[in-house]
Symmetry: C2
């Protein structure tokens, strides 16, 4: 039994650029101005790793309190900037098709409830779909925990799981979990970045993946 | 006499992600919702080309009036989102060093006065520096006009000009102008995208370029 495990932000929902800009503002307000592209390339890793990486980049140590405060401020700005979530092209249709075909699939995201709830609602994710979030594991991507937890809940074998993600962190975590992975350009990484990180195929977005499922050798 | 011609947004000033998000909001408000990454990869091309590309993407024709209105709304949102401009690492120091060393250099941007004025001020650009903007030419990047106009004003030979830019549009325009080009990652493109578009070297940002000037063979 093959199974598809999807990342959420940048893979199914168009939130990456709002996240980048919300982080950039939240960090700048705390005197931690940092280049947009460096934030972009760190989206999708665990929030703790992210804030530590930023602190190293800026050369200022960051207390846990500061990190928590900046994360909370990011959340507020993000919801202000993007009150409505927009599914990426083909995402809703692909998930619906997988359900109809009874192909095992789930979502594993470094995001948290309740922040991800509007994204799941916009995607029309039914209540019984397997969704593993940051709160379900000790360590987020690029640790393999989120994907392994999702695989367990899906009841699939590790070697039968295919991760679909837009960020290098998804692809690294997939490799560490022993899973194959597919990259999507819809989060703004370049083709080579995804391929070098281990994606055996790269597609533009969920719609392109849906059209190309035959190339994956999974159906 | 060698000359360096710099792009502005994403090359010297950290504005790309604010531009992406401002475009995304302005377009969504006009019923033209479009993926963030597709906007990102079109930043730095002429505004006219950009809005036409978006219209094709969304599959709705766009009148000149609509295009103008969306461009104006983008400007308002951009200034709201990013009231202060932040030079990218090393940009101010590199420009100062080039002035001190009397190495010919200028800026050629698809942006316009007065929108670019705060960026130029943040960079400490002196009044006598050659800055060519959208208003000085008929056609913006990836047409070669901006770089050719800058080269003329600098009094340099085309074959002695090196373009420094963060976007594929800079590198394509440089090739069409007959100039060599150097890519910077600071606008969020991947290394391979810049190399494939013609950059003979790629650096992280202006600071990295400054440290690596010996590798260019221009000094």
């Amino acid at each position: 039994m093959r199974a598809l495990i999807f990342d959420l932000d940048g893979t199914l929902i168009d939130t990456v650029y709002a996240h980048v800009f919300a982080w950039q503002r939240a960090l700048a307000e705390s005197g931690l101005a940092i280049d947009g592209w460096k934030i972009h390339r760190r989206i999708g890793m665990s929030g703790g790793l992210f804030t530590r990486a930023v602190a190293r980049e800026v050369g200022k140590p960051l207390s846990d309190d500061d990190a928590g405060r900046i994360q909370a401020r990011h959340g507020v700005l993000f919801r202000e900037l993007l009150p409505e979530r927009r599914p990426l092209p083909g995402a809703v249709e692909l998930l619906r098709w997988l359900r109809d075909q009874k192909i095992t699939h789930g979502i594993a995201t470094s995001g948290r409830h309740p922040e991800i709830d509007s994204s799941l609602a916009a995607l029309g994710v039914p209540a019984d779909m397997v969704v593993v979030d940051r709160g379900d594991v000790l360590r987020a991507k690029p640790e393999p925990d989120l994907f392994l937890k999702c695989q367990e809940q899906l009841g699939a074998d590790i070697r039968d799981c295919y991760v679909v993600g837009d960020a290098v962190w998804d692809l690294l975590a997939a490799r560490r979990a022993g899973m194959l992975s597919v990259g999507l350009l819809s989060g703004g990484y370049g083709w080579d970045e995804l391929t070098s990180a281990g994606a055996f195929r790269v597609y533009r977005d969920a719609a392109d993946l849906h059209r190309s499922l035959d190339e994956l050798g999974i159906l």
